[in-house]
């Protein structure tokens, strides 16, 4: 597949977590969680269903609030720099946030226009990279589940955010898609990016992966 990513090095950033605790329905999912993540590192969050993987990722994004503890980005608490942090973050949740009434091009164009505003050529190239060439102007309603996820994943090609937080990004992808995403992840790490993710897919990135068991 063609390489369309922006490949300049990313700014050196650090994600730190201190004494994090999370409860759901008065059940403690995890507590006293501390770690830090440096450029070029990937943190794989593992655990059974209901262990709090998604909750952790949402706390790391700032979407959910921890019961205790703090997440900081470059030494500052994320809730005190919400917009700055958001500018350096790419998040993909369970739901891809793709509008079924809009075409892939419109979907991607909208999300990116609030960030680094790529040109139309860049957007089309990104869609081509995820194998959506020829589908760019069809309503997303007509696409398959895997294709809809690809629309959201295409944003990775256009992102200049150092931190990627991905919740099961391999879901519904076919073999070619998996290979493309693996490739995408390793080149992000090479550029000095940080990744926190969950997956059931065996990662073949050709480098050491840190894992966290919940």
């Amino acid at each position: 597949m063609p390489q369309t990513r922006i490949s300049s090095p990313l700014p050196a950033r650090e994600l730190a977590v201190d004494g994090l605790a999370c409860e759901r329905d008065e059940r403690v999912l995890f507590s006293g969680l501390s770690l830090s993540l440096k450029p070029g590192e990937l943190l794989l969050v593992e655990g059974q269903n209901g262990a709090g993987k998604t909750s952790l990722l949402r706390i790391l994004c700032g979407l959910a609030e921890p019961v205790e503890g703090e997440v900081s980005w470059n030494g500052r608490a994320i809730h005190s720099q919400r917009e700055d942090y958001a500018a350096e973050l790419f998040y993909l949740g369970h739901l891809p946030g793709v509008k079924l009434d809009l075409s892939p091009e419109e979907n991607l164009g909208f999300v990116r226009s609030l960030r680094n505003r790529p040109s139309r050529e860049q957007i089309l190239a990104a869609l081509k990279a995820v194998g959506l060439y020829g589908y760019e102007d069809q309503p997303a309603r007509t696409l398959s589940a895997g294709q809809r996820r690809r629309v959201a994943l295409a944003g990775l090609c256009l992102s200049d955010a150092p931190l990627w937080i991905l919740d099961e990004p391999f879901t519904a992808l076919d073999k070619a898609g998996v290979a493309w995403l693996q490739d995408c992840l390793s080149s992000h790490l090479e550029r000095g990016g940080l990744i926190v993710m969950t997956t059931h897919q065996a990662l073949e990135l050709g480098r050491q992966v840190r894992s966290l068991a919940l």
Binding site: L63, E83, A86, Y91, G97, V98
Partner: protein, 226 residues
């Protein structure tokens, strides 16, 4: 507003208008409801012009209020269900500004058509000629307030399965001042009295809700999307 923020505001506005355009059928529902609800009144209370003219200010305003309420549930729900709301909350712009763009889009799709349709319904209800200005200006100032205040309720109930009924319980009491001043202006005008005071009150409500409601909405979304 900086250029970047303005750009983001316009982008959200455009997307929501585009989505409304793609779902034209759904977007027209509040307007149809408005017309239908107003049509029911002559059937319910009789066609005598004088009696209709007397209740017309209240009927038009209550119908506009309920039509807005009906449309509110969809304001954040679709975005919540497909994950777009999460993405919106993680944008490098203040959420309140993006929410304001959504509310403006909501008003353009649901409030503005009500406003444009209202003179016609005034005619149907034999509203005195002197009242038309007050009705139109009142709705022009009042319906944005309905959208803004209602958005807070929509944000608070966005994740709930049966949010619709709850939404009306939360929002309708807050609509009381708008209803009183809006319908009051029309009634005053019908009696040949000045209605500038009521319009000024509606204007003040608009200014207040324009400055506070987006902040309250953003705070509410951060709570309910937790």
């Amino acid at each position: 507003m900086s250029a970047g923020l303005m750009h983001a505001f316009v982008a959200v506005l455009r997307r929501d208008l585009l989505l409304a355009l793609r779902r034209r059928g759904d977007s027209l529902n509040p307007l149809l409801f408005f017309v239908l609800a107003v049509t029911l009144f002559p059937l319910g209370i009789g066609p005598e012009p004088q009696r209709l003219a007397e209740v017309a200010p209240g009927v038009l305003w209550v119908a506009a209020l309920l039509a807005t309420l009906l449309s509110l549930d969809s304001l954040f729900r679709a975005d919540h269900e497909d994950g777009a709301l999460e993405q919106l909350m993680l944008m490098p712009q203040p959420l309140s500004v993006l929410v304001l763009a959504k509310i403006l889009a909501h008003w353009l799709v649901s409030g503005l058509p009500l406003l444009l349709m209202s003179p016609l319904l005034g005619v149907v209800l034999h509203l005195p000629e002197a009242s038309f200005g007050a009705l139109f200006l009142g709705l022009a100032l009042g319906t944005p307030v309905l959208s803004l205040v209602g958005a807070i309720g929509a944000a608070l109930t966005v994740g709930l399965r049966r949010g619709g009924m709850l939404l009306s319980l939360l929002v309708l009491p807050l609509y009381v001042p708008v209803l009183i001043f809006g319908a009051g202006a029309v009634a005053q005008a019908g009696m040949g009295l000045s209605y500038a005071g009521q319009l000024a009150m509606l204007g003040a409500l608009l200014a207040l809700s324009l400055s506070l409601a987006p902040l309250a909405c953003a705070a509410a979304l951060r709570v309910t999307e937790n």
